[in-house]
Protein backbone atom coordinates (compact mmCIF):
# COMPACT_ATOMS: atom_id res chain seq x y z
CA UNK A 1 0.00 0.00 0.00
CA UNK A 2 1.45 3.35 -0.95
CA UNK A 3 1.58 5.91 1.82
CA UNK A 4 -0.68 8.87 1.27
CA UNK A 5 -0.24 12.05 3.25
CA UNK A 6 -3.41 13.00 5.13
CA UNK A 7 -2.30 15.80 7.41
CA UNK A 8 0.78 17.84 6.69
CA UNK A 9 2.49 20.72 8.44
CA UNK A 10 5.27 22.92 7.14
CA UNK A 11 7.20 25.39 9.30
CA UNK A 12 4.34 25.53 11.76
CA UNK A 13 4.72 27.98 14.64
CA UNK A 14 2.21 28.44 17.42
CA UNK A 15 2.08 31.15 20.08
CA UNK A 16 0.06 31.51 23.29
CA UNK A 17 0.40 35.31 23.39
CA UNK A 18 4.18 35.74 23.88
CA UNK A 19 4.90 32.08 24.54
CA UNK A 20 6.29 30.35 21.47
CA UNK A 21 4.75 26.91 22.08
CA UNK A 22 5.49 25.24 18.75
CA UNK A 23 8.57 26.11 16.76
CA UNK A 24 9.02 25.35 13.10
CA UNK A 25 7.27 21.97 13.01
CA UNK A 26 7.45 20.17 9.67
CA UNK A 27 6.25 16.62 9.11
CA UNK A 28 3.53 14.49 7.52
CA UNK A 29 0.90 12.19 8.99
CA UNK A 30 -0.25 9.41 6.71
CA UNK A 31 -3.66 8.06 5.87
CA UNK A 32 -4.65 4.80 7.57
CA UNK A 33 -1.73 4.98 9.93
CA UNK A 34 -1.48 5.78 13.61
CA UNK A 35 1.00 8.55 14.37
CA UNK A 36 2.04 8.85 18.01
CA UNK A 37 3.23 12.15 19.49
CA UNK A 38 5.52 11.69 22.48
CA UNK A 39 7.57 13.97 24.68
CA UNK A 40 7.73 15.30 28.24
CA UNK A 41 4.94 17.45 29.71
CA UNK A 42 4.84 20.90 28.16
CA UNK A 43 6.71 19.86 25.02
CA UNK A 44 3.86 20.97 22.75
CA UNK A 45 2.44 17.64 21.67
CA UNK A 46 -1.11 18.34 22.89
CA UNK A 47 -0.95 21.87 21.50
CA UNK A 48 0.00 20.39 18.17
CA UNK A 49 -2.86 17.88 18.35
CA UNK A 50 -5.33 20.66 19.09
CA UNK A 51 -4.08 22.66 16.10
CA UNK A 52 -5.42 19.94 13.83
CA UNK A 53 -9.07 20.45 14.80
CA UNK A 54 -8.50 24.09 15.75
CA UNK A 55 -9.43 23.56 19.36
CA UNK A 56 -6.83 26.21 20.20
CA UNK A 57 -9.06 28.83 18.53
CA UNK A 58 -11.04 28.84 21.77
CA UNK A 59 -8.09 30.29 23.68
CA UNK A 60 -7.60 34.05 23.63
CA UNK A 61 -4.36 35.48 22.23
CA UNK A 62 -3.21 32.48 20.25
CA UNK A 63 -1.48 32.85 16.90
CA UNK A 64 -0.54 30.32 14.22
CA UNK A 65 2.09 30.72 11.50
CA UNK A 66 3.12 28.36 8.78
CA UNK A 67 1.00 25.80 7.03
CA UNK A 68 -1.15 22.97 8.33
CA UNK A 69 -3.14 21.09 5.71
CA UNK A 70 -5.49 18.13 5.44
CA UNK A 71 -5.74 16.60 1.98
CA UNK A 72 -3.91 19.70 0.78
CA UNK A 73 -6.52 22.10 2.20
CA UNK A 74 -5.30 24.80 4.56
CA UNK A 75 -6.87 24.11 7.96
CA UNK A 76 -6.25 27.64 9.17
CA UNK A 77 -7.95 29.30 6.22
CA UNK A 78 -10.51 31.69 7.80
CA UNK A 79 -13.00 30.50 5.19
CA UNK A 80 -12.73 26.97 6.52
CA UNK A 81 -15.88 26.08 8.47
CA UNK A 82 -14.71 24.88 11.89
CA UNK A 83 -17.90 22.87 12.43
CA UNK A 84 -17.28 20.97 9.21
CA UNK A 85 -13.63 20.54 10.17
CA UNK A 86 -14.53 19.03 13.54
CA UNK A 87 -16.87 16.58 11.84
CA UNK A 88 -13.99 15.47 9.67
CA UNK A 89 -11.57 15.42 12.60
CA UNK A 90 -12.93 13.64 15.67
CA UNK A 91 -11.36 13.79 19.09
CA UNK A 92 -11.17 11.59 22.15
CA UNK A 93 -9.89 13.04 25.40
CA UNK A 94 -7.92 11.80 28.36
CA UNK A 95 -10.89 11.44 30.68
CA UNK A 96 -13.99 9.77 29.28
CA UNK A 97 -16.64 12.49 28.95
CA UNK A 98 -19.94 10.92 27.92
CA UNK A 99 -22.94 13.24 27.88
CA UNK A 100 -25.45 12.68 30.71
CA UNK A 101 -27.70 10.96 28.22
CA UNK A 102 -28.47 7.39 27.26
CA UNK A 103 -25.84 5.25 25.55
CA UNK A 104 -27.86 5.46 22.35
CA UNK A 105 -28.23 9.24 22.50
CA UNK A 106 -24.53 9.70 23.19
CA UNK A 107 -23.69 8.06 19.89
CA UNK A 108 -26.62 9.58 17.99
CA UNK A 109 -25.81 13.09 19.22
CA UNK A 110 -23.32 14.03 16.53
CA UNK A 111 -25.66 12.81 13.79
CA UNK A 112 -28.57 14.82 15.15
CA UNK A 113 -26.58 18.05 15.41
CA UNK A 114 -25.45 17.42 11.83
CA UNK A 115 -29.11 17.35 10.78
CA UNK A 116 -29.69 13.61 10.39
CA UNK A 117 -33.26 12.77 11.37
CA UNK A 118 -33.87 9.45 9.63
CA UNK A 119 -34.46 7.09 12.57
CA UNK A 120 -33.38 3.99 10.61
CA UNK A 121 -30.15 5.64 9.51
CA UNK A 122 -29.41 6.74 13.08
CA UNK A 123 -30.15 3.22 14.40
CA UNK A 124 -27.80 1.71 11.84
CA UNK A 125 -25.04 4.22 12.48
CA UNK A 126 -25.29 3.82 16.28
CA UNK A 127 -24.96 0.05 15.96
CA UNK A 128 -22.07 0.32 13.48
CA UNK A 129 -20.23 2.81 15.65
CA UNK A 130 -20.66 0.80 18.82
CA UNK A 131 -19.43 -2.28 16.96
CA UNK A 132 -16.43 -0.35 15.62
CA UNK A 133 -15.65 0.73 19.17
CA UNK A 134 -15.92 -2.92 20.32
CA UNK A 135 -18.67 -1.97 22.76
CA UNK A 136 -21.83 -3.27 21.05
CA UNK A 137 -21.88 -6.72 22.64
CA UNK A 138 -21.58 -5.20 26.11
CA UNK A 139 -24.34 -2.59 25.73
CA UNK A 140 -26.75 -3.78 23.05
CA UNK A 141 -29.38 -4.79 25.63
CA UNK A 142 -29.24 -1.54 27.57
CA UNK A 143 -28.91 1.23 25.00
CA UNK A 144 -31.41 3.37 26.93
CA UNK A 145 -29.32 3.38 30.10
CA UNK A 146 -27.20 6.39 30.95
CA UNK A 147 -23.75 6.54 29.41
CA UNK A 148 -22.50 7.46 32.86
CA UNK A 149 -23.56 4.02 34.18
CA UNK A 150 -20.76 2.38 32.22
CA UNK A 151 -17.29 1.60 33.58
CA UNK A 152 -14.41 3.98 32.77
CA UNK A 153 -13.11 1.78 29.96
CA UNK A 154 -16.59 1.38 28.51
CA UNK A 155 -17.21 5.13 28.77
CA UNK A 156 -14.02 5.77 26.81
CA UNK A 157 -15.10 3.33 24.11
CA UNK A 158 -18.50 5.04 24.10
CA UNK A 159 -16.70 8.34 23.44
CA UNK A 160 -14.80 6.67 20.60
CA UNK A 161 -18.12 5.35 19.20
CA UNK A 162 -19.56 8.86 19.51
CA UNK A 163 -16.61 10.25 17.56
CA UNK A 164 -16.93 7.48 14.94
CA UNK A 165 -20.66 8.02 14.37
CA UNK A 166 -20.18 11.11 12.23
CA UNK A 167 -17.65 9.22 10.12
CA UNK A 168 -14.61 11.44 10.60
CA UNK A 169 -11.52 11.02 8.46
CA UNK A 170 -9.04 11.71 11.24
CA UNK A 171 -9.30 10.72 14.87
CA UNK A 172 -7.27 12.69 17.42
CA UNK A 173 -6.65 10.93 20.72
CA UNK A 174 -5.25 12.85 23.66
CA UNK A 175 -3.93 10.25 26.11
CA UNK A 176 -7.04 8.12 25.62
CA UNK A 177 -6.03 5.36 28.01
CA UNK A 178 -4.22 7.21 30.77
CA UNK A 179 -7.21 7.04 33.13
CA UNK A 180 -7.93 3.37 32.42
CA UNK A 181 -6.86 0.06 33.96
CA UNK A 182 -4.60 -2.32 31.99
CA UNK A 183 -7.44 -4.43 30.57
CA UNK A 184 -9.39 -1.38 29.38
CA UNK A 185 -6.14 0.08 28.04
CA UNK A 186 -5.49 -3.09 26.09
CA UNK A 187 -8.98 -2.89 24.58
CA UNK A 188 -8.41 0.71 23.48
CA UNK A 189 -5.05 -0.24 21.98
CA UNK A 190 -6.59 -3.17 20.11
CA UNK A 191 -9.25 -0.79 18.92
CA UNK A 192 -6.66 1.62 17.54
CA UNK A 193 -5.24 -1.24 15.47
CA UNK A 194 -8.73 -1.98 14.13
CA UNK A 195 -9.67 1.64 13.48
CA UNK A 196 -6.54 2.36 11.47
CA UNK A 197 -7.95 0.55 8.46
CA UNK A 198 -10.77 3.11 8.25
CA UNK A 199 -9.33 6.27 9.79
CA UNK A 200 -6.15 8.22 10.24
CA UNK A 201 -5.20 8.28 13.90
CA UNK A 202 -3.02 10.79 15.70
CA UNK A 203 -2.44 9.96 19.33
CA UNK A 204 -0.73 11.83 22.14
CA UNK A 205 0.52 9.50 24.83
CA UNK A 206 2.74 9.70 27.87
CA UNK A 207 3.28 5.97 27.73
CA UNK A 208 6.16 5.21 25.42
CA UNK A 209 5.25 1.54 25.49
CA UNK A 210 1.80 2.50 24.26
CA UNK A 211 3.26 4.59 21.44
CA UNK A 212 5.49 1.65 20.55
CA UNK A 213 2.58 -0.79 20.57
CA UNK A 214 -0.06 1.13 18.64
CA UNK A 215 1.62 3.49 16.22
CA UNK A 216 3.19 3.18 12.79
CA UNK A 217 5.13 6.41 13.10
CA UNK A 218 6.26 8.33 16.15
CA UNK A 219 7.12 11.99 16.51
CA UNK A 220 9.21 13.13 19.48
CA UNK A 221 8.62 16.70 20.66
CA UNK A 222 10.80 18.57 23.11
CA UNK A 223 10.45 22.17 24.23
CA UNK A 224 8.16 23.08 21.37
CA UNK A 225 10.35 21.54 18.69
CA UNK A 226 10.00 18.37 16.69
CA UNK A 227 13.23 16.53 17.47
CA UNK A 228 12.71 13.37 15.46
CA UNK A 229 9.98 11.64 13.51
CA UNK A 230 10.06 8.29 11.79
CA UNK A 231 8.76 4.73 11.69
CA UNK A 232 8.02 3.64 15.27
CA UNK A 233 10.04 0.45 14.92
CA UNK A 234 13.10 2.48 13.96
CA UNK A 235 12.61 5.24 16.53
CA UNK A 236 12.44 2.72 19.37
CA UNK A 237 15.32 0.54 18.22
CA UNK A 238 17.81 2.97 16.69
CA UNK A 239 16.80 6.60 17.03
CA UNK A 240 19.00 9.02 15.14
CA UNK A 241 18.94 11.86 17.61
CA UNK A 242 20.71 11.74 20.96
CA UNK A 243 17.86 13.63 22.67
CA UNK A 244 15.36 11.06 21.42
CA UNK A 245 17.57 8.23 22.68
CA UNK A 246 17.96 9.93 26.07
CA UNK A 247 14.22 10.51 26.39
CA UNK A 248 13.00 7.07 25.42
CA UNK A 249 15.64 5.31 27.50
CA UNK A 250 14.79 7.43 30.54
CA UNK A 251 18.14 9.25 30.68
CA UNK A 252 16.50 12.65 30.50
CA UNK A 253 16.88 15.35 33.11
Amino acid sequence: MTEQVKVSCRNLHFYYSDFHALQDITFDMYQHQATALIGPSGCGKSTFLRCINRMNDLIAGVRVEGSLTMDGQDLNDPAHDVVVLRRRVGMVFQKPNPFPKSIYENVAYGLRVNGVSDRNLIDTRVEESLKLAALWDEVKDRLDQSGLSLSGGQQQRLCIARAMAVEPEVLLMDEPASALDPIATQKIEELIHELKSSFTIIIVTHSMQQAARVSDRTAFFYMGRLIEVGPTSKLFTRPENKQTEDYITGRFG
Binding site: Q209, F236, T237, R238, T249, G250, R251, F252
Partner: protein, 223 residues
Amino acid sequence: MYTHLHEEIEALKLKVLKMAALTEEAVGKAVRSYVKKDLYLAEEVQDGDVQVNRLDVEIDELALRLLALEQPVAGDLRFILGCMRISVDLERVADEAVNIAERSIMLSSRPPLPFQDDVAEMGGKAMAMLQHAIQAFTSGNVEAALQVCSLDNEVDVLNHKNMRKVIEYMIHETPAIERSVHTIILIRRLERIGDLATNIAESVVFISEGVNIKHKRYFDEHQ
Protein backbone atom coordinates in the same frame (compact mmCIF):
# COMPACT_ATOMS: atom_id res chain seq x y z
CA MET B 1 19.43 10.74 35.22
CA TYR B 2 20.72 7.34 36.32
CA THR B 3 17.91 4.82 36.66
CA HIS B 4 17.48 1.36 38.10
CA LEU B 5 17.61 -0.08 34.58
CA HIS B 6 21.00 1.48 33.99
CA GLU B 7 22.37 -0.02 37.21
CA GLU B 8 21.10 -3.41 36.06
CA ILE B 9 22.64 -2.90 32.62
CA GLU B 10 26.00 -2.18 34.27
CA ALA B 11 25.62 -5.41 36.26
CA LEU B 12 24.87 -7.25 33.01
CA LYS B 13 27.95 -5.79 31.37
CA LEU B 14 30.12 -6.88 34.32
CA LYS B 15 28.80 -10.43 34.06
CA VAL B 16 29.56 -10.54 30.32
CA LEU B 17 33.07 -9.16 30.94
CA LYS B 18 33.67 -11.74 33.66
CA MET B 19 32.48 -14.49 31.33
CA ALA B 20 34.70 -13.10 28.57
CA ALA B 21 37.75 -13.04 30.87
CA LEU B 22 37.19 -16.67 31.91
CA THR B 23 36.65 -17.75 28.31
CA GLU B 24 39.74 -15.96 27.08
CA GLU B 25 41.77 -17.59 29.83
CA ALA B 26 40.36 -21.03 28.92
CA VAL B 27 41.33 -20.68 25.25
CA GLY B 28 44.86 -19.55 26.17
CA LYS B 29 45.31 -22.47 28.57
CA ALA B 30 43.87 -24.97 26.09
CA VAL B 31 46.28 -23.94 23.33
CA ARG B 32 49.24 -23.93 25.75
CA SER B 33 48.23 -27.32 27.11
CA TYR B 34 48.58 -28.73 23.59
CA VAL B 35 51.79 -26.93 22.70
CA LYS B 36 53.49 -27.68 26.04
CA LYS B 37 51.81 -31.05 26.63
CA ASP B 38 50.66 -29.68 29.98
CA LEU B 39 47.99 -31.97 31.44
CA TYR B 40 47.48 -29.74 34.43
CA LEU B 41 46.46 -26.78 32.25
CA ALA B 42 44.10 -28.99 30.22
CA GLU B 43 42.37 -30.16 33.37
CA GLU B 44 42.02 -26.59 34.58
CA VAL B 45 40.19 -25.76 31.34
CA GLN B 46 37.83 -28.70 31.83
CA ASP B 47 37.13 -27.82 35.45
CA GLY B 48 36.70 -24.11 34.74
CA ASP B 49 33.91 -24.59 32.19
CA VAL B 50 31.26 -24.86 34.88
CA GLN B 51 31.87 -21.23 35.88
CA VAL B 52 31.37 -20.06 32.31
CA ASN B 53 28.17 -22.10 32.06
CA ARG B 54 26.90 -20.64 35.30
CA LEU B 55 27.50 -17.09 34.04
CA ASP B 56 25.77 -17.95 30.77
CA VAL B 57 22.64 -18.94 32.72
CA GLU B 58 22.88 -15.88 34.97
CA ILE B 59 23.19 -13.53 31.99
CA ASP B 60 20.22 -15.17 30.34
CA GLU B 61 18.11 -14.79 33.48
CA LEU B 62 19.11 -11.17 34.05
CA ALA B 63 18.51 -10.23 30.41
CA LEU B 64 15.12 -11.93 30.41
CA ARG B 65 14.15 -10.13 33.61
CA LEU B 66 15.21 -6.75 32.21
CA LEU B 67 13.28 -7.32 28.99
CA ALA B 68 10.15 -8.35 30.88
CA LEU B 69 10.19 -5.78 33.65
CA GLU B 70 11.92 -2.73 32.26
CA GLN B 71 10.77 -2.79 28.62
CA PRO B 72 14.04 -1.29 27.43
CA VAL B 73 14.24 0.50 24.09
CA ALA B 74 16.86 1.87 21.69
CA GLY B 75 20.47 1.59 22.92
CA ASP B 76 19.44 -0.21 26.13
CA LEU B 77 17.43 -2.78 24.18
CA ARG B 78 20.25 -3.33 21.70
CA PHE B 79 22.77 -3.70 24.52
CA ILE B 80 20.71 -6.36 26.29
CA LEU B 81 20.08 -8.30 23.05
CA GLY B 82 23.77 -7.97 22.17
CA CYS B 83 24.81 -9.33 25.60
CA MET B 84 22.49 -12.32 25.16
CA ARG B 85 24.08 -13.12 21.80
CA ILE B 86 27.62 -12.55 23.08
CA SER B 87 27.08 -14.83 26.07
CA VAL B 88 25.87 -17.62 23.75
CA ASP B 89 29.01 -17.17 21.63
CA LEU B 90 31.32 -17.04 24.67
CA GLU B 91 29.78 -20.21 26.05
CA ARG B 92 30.51 -21.94 22.73
CA VAL B 93 34.08 -20.62 22.69
CA ALA B 94 34.57 -22.06 26.19
CA ASP B 95 33.18 -25.40 24.95
CA GLU B 96 35.69 -25.31 22.08
CA ALA B 97 38.45 -24.71 24.62
CA VAL B 98 37.31 -27.78 26.58
CA ASN B 99 37.32 -29.78 23.34
CA ILE B 100 40.89 -28.65 22.60
CA ALA B 101 41.91 -29.54 26.17
CA GLU B 102 40.46 -33.04 25.72
CA ARG B 103 42.51 -33.53 22.51
CA SER B 104 45.58 -32.25 24.33
CA ILE B 105 45.11 -34.80 27.12
CA MET B 106 44.66 -37.57 24.57
CA LEU B 107 47.66 -36.50 22.47
CA SER B 108 49.97 -35.83 25.45
CA SER B 109 50.38 -39.53 26.18
CA ARG B 110 51.41 -40.30 22.59
CA PRO B 111 54.51 -39.43 20.55
CA PRO B 112 54.23 -35.82 19.36
CA LEU B 113 53.46 -34.78 15.78
CA PRO B 114 55.33 -31.90 14.16
CA PHE B 115 52.46 -29.37 14.29
CA GLN B 116 53.11 -27.55 17.55
CA ASP B 117 54.21 -24.36 15.84
CA ASP B 118 51.30 -24.36 13.40
CA VAL B 119 48.77 -24.88 16.17
CA ALA B 120 50.50 -22.23 18.29
CA GLU B 121 50.38 -19.72 15.43
CA MET B 122 46.73 -20.40 14.64
CA GLY B 123 45.83 -20.44 18.34
CA GLY B 124 47.55 -17.08 18.73
CA LYS B 125 45.51 -15.57 15.89
CA ALA B 126 42.20 -16.99 17.14
CA MET B 127 43.05 -15.78 20.62
CA ALA B 128 43.90 -12.29 19.34
CA MET B 129 40.55 -12.13 17.52
CA LEU B 130 38.74 -13.06 20.72
CA GLN B 131 40.69 -10.49 22.76
CA HIS B 132 40.07 -7.72 20.25
CA ALA B 133 36.36 -8.58 20.05
CA ILE B 134 36.08 -8.37 23.83
CA GLN B 135 38.02 -5.09 23.90
CA ALA B 136 35.69 -3.72 21.23
CA PHE B 137 32.72 -4.73 23.40
CA THR B 138 34.25 -3.09 26.48
CA SER B 139 34.86 0.20 24.71
CA GLY B 140 31.95 0.03 22.23
CA ASN B 141 34.47 0.62 19.44
CA VAL B 142 32.89 -0.20 16.07
CA GLU B 143 36.13 0.25 14.09
CA ALA B 144 37.92 -2.25 16.31
CA ALA B 145 35.00 -4.67 15.94
CA LEU B 146 35.11 -4.42 12.16
CA GLN B 147 38.85 -5.15 12.23
CA VAL B 148 38.13 -8.40 14.08
CA CYS B 149 35.74 -9.43 11.29
CA SER B 150 38.45 -8.81 8.70
CA LEU B 151 40.94 -10.99 10.67
CA ASP B 152 38.68 -14.02 10.25
CA ASN B 153 40.04 -14.58 6.74
CA GLU B 154 43.56 -15.02 8.10
CA VAL B 155 42.41 -17.76 10.48
CA ASP B 156 40.48 -19.42 7.66
CA VAL B 157 43.60 -19.41 5.48
CA LEU B 158 45.66 -20.96 8.29
CA ASN B 159 42.92 -23.54 8.85
CA HIS B 160 43.04 -24.57 5.22
CA LYS B 161 46.83 -24.63 5.10
CA ASN B 162 47.17 -26.66 8.31
CA MET B 163 44.49 -29.14 7.27
CA ARG B 164 46.37 -29.83 4.03
CA LYS B 165 49.60 -30.18 5.96
CA VAL B 166 48.18 -32.76 8.40
CA ILE B 167 46.48 -34.71 5.60
CA GLU B 168 49.76 -34.86 3.65
CA TYR B 169 51.45 -36.12 6.80
CA MET B 170 48.80 -38.79 7.37
CA ILE B 171 49.25 -40.15 3.86
CA HIS B 172 52.91 -40.91 4.57
CA GLU B 173 52.68 -41.72 8.27
CA THR B 174 49.83 -44.20 8.61
CA PRO B 175 50.64 -45.10 12.25
CA ALA B 176 49.94 -41.45 13.09
CA ILE B 177 46.44 -41.38 11.57
CA GLU B 178 44.57 -41.34 14.87
CA ARG B 179 46.77 -38.55 16.29
CA SER B 180 46.48 -36.67 13.01
CA VAL B 181 42.68 -36.87 13.08
CA HIS B 182 42.67 -35.46 16.61
CA THR B 183 45.00 -32.70 15.44
CA ILE B 184 42.65 -31.90 12.56
CA ILE B 185 39.74 -31.69 14.98
CA LEU B 186 41.80 -29.41 17.19
CA ILE B 187 42.65 -27.13 14.26
CA ARG B 188 39.00 -27.05 13.31
CA ARG B 189 38.09 -25.97 16.88
CA LEU B 190 40.49 -23.04 16.60
CA GLU B 191 38.88 -22.02 13.34
CA ARG B 192 35.49 -22.07 15.07
CA ILE B 193 36.82 -19.84 17.83
CA GLY B 194 37.75 -17.33 15.11
CA ASP B 195 34.19 -17.54 13.74
CA LEU B 196 32.68 -17.05 17.18
CA ALA B 197 34.97 -14.07 17.87
CA THR B 198 33.65 -12.62 14.60
CA ASN B 199 30.08 -13.15 15.85
CA ILE B 200 30.94 -11.28 19.04
CA ALA B 201 32.42 -8.41 17.02
CA GLU B 202 29.26 -8.33 14.88
CA SER B 203 27.17 -8.05 18.05
CA VAL B 204 29.34 -5.08 19.11
CA VAL B 205 28.47 -3.38 15.80
CA PHE B 206 24.79 -4.19 16.39
CA ILE B 207 24.88 -2.71 19.90
CA SER B 208 26.50 0.52 18.72
CA GLU B 209 24.90 1.05 15.33
CA GLY B 210 21.67 -0.95 15.42
CA VAL B 211 22.53 -2.68 12.15
CA ASN B 212 22.93 -6.38 11.67
CA ILE B 213 26.05 -7.18 9.66
CA LYS B 214 25.79 -10.95 10.16
CA HIS B 215 26.00 -12.90 6.91
CA LYS B 216 26.25 -9.57 5.11
CA ARG B 217 28.80 -10.84 2.63
CA TYR B 218 26.59 -13.84 1.77
CA PHE B 219 23.51 -11.65 1.28
CA ASP B 220 25.47 -9.10 -0.75
CA GLU B 221 26.77 -11.83 -3.06
CA HIS B 222 23.39 -13.51 -3.52
CA GLN B 223 21.22 -10.48 -4.12
